[in-house]
């Protein structure tokens, strides 16, 4: 698939790759903060909070797959698994923990 000849026959548009990565990154950052609000308000602690985040991120991936990529992930992403399904999940986790602890403290203190 990532053969050099394959790339020569069907070249990849670099600006589109960047645009897609930027879009995914924006969605992930926004939704990660949102999940932090939910997890903090629900009063989740320790592992359940992280499991909630991973499950909600999977939901967002499915939404992107259905609404933005229209079911054709390989048309918009170089490697659909790494860029769409797992893309930016772990970099959004810091924002999640930030709002999680904030809202846990605000609501339950």
């Amino acid at each position: 698939m990532l053969d050099e000849r394959e790339l020569a026959i069907s070249p990849i548009v670099q600006s589109s790759v960047q645009h897609n990565a930027q879009t995914i990154s924006n969605i992930r950052n926004l939704t990660a903060s949102l999940f932090g609000v939910a997890a903090g308000t629900l009063g989740l602690e320790s592992y359940p909070g992280f499991i909630f985040y991973l499950a909600a991120s999977l939901l967002v991936s499915v939404l992107i797959f259905a609404f933005r990529a229209e079911g054709k992930a390989s048309e918009y992403f170089h490697s659909p698994l790494g860029d769409l399904w797992l893309g930016e999940v772990f970099s959004g986790m810091s924002g999640f923990v930030l709002t999680w602890t904030l809202f846990y403290g605000l609501v339950r203190a």
Partner: protein, 128 residues
């Protein structure tokens, strides 16, 4: 699509604010019961609505394959022309579609010869 995403986001934000406020009020009660089910459901509904709204509000993805991308741009050329200013997003095959024709060199030469005779100026050909 913008209307749908905006209304989903607004509704989700209202529900989220209400749910968080209710949870806060509930935490002030002397009972130490867990969060009531209706607040939990409201919160999760708000999160779901906001997720859908955020995804729908995000800009469209662009195809990474050059041929798919170029073909899409070619088909939407008139739309892209209206939305001017985005220089990088032009049809990459426009220079193949709009080309000058071949130069009619004999016609040009004849034109020049006629003009040359008509003006009657002493030209480089007087020696012949």
């Amino acid at each position: 699509m913008t209307l749908i995403s905006t209304s989903l986001n607004s509704l989700g934000l209202v529900l989220l604010t209400h749910a968080v406020y209710s949870a806060h009020e509930h935490s002030l009660l002397p009972t130490t019961a867990t969060l009531p089910l209706d607040i939990t459901i409201e919160l999760l509904t708000a999160v779901l609505l906001l997720c859908i709204g955020i995804v729908l509000a995000s800009p469209d993805l662009k195809p990474i394959n050059w041929s798919v991308w170029g073909g899409k741009l070619s088909r939407e050329e008139h739309k892209a022309a209206v939305k001017a200013g985005d220089v990088t997003e032009r049809d990459p095959y426009v220079q193949l579609d709009i080309r000058r024709g071949f130069l009619d060199i004999r016609g040009k030469r004849q034109e020049f010869a006629d003009w040359d005779i008509m003006t009657g100026l002493p030209s480089y050909r007087t020696g012949y």
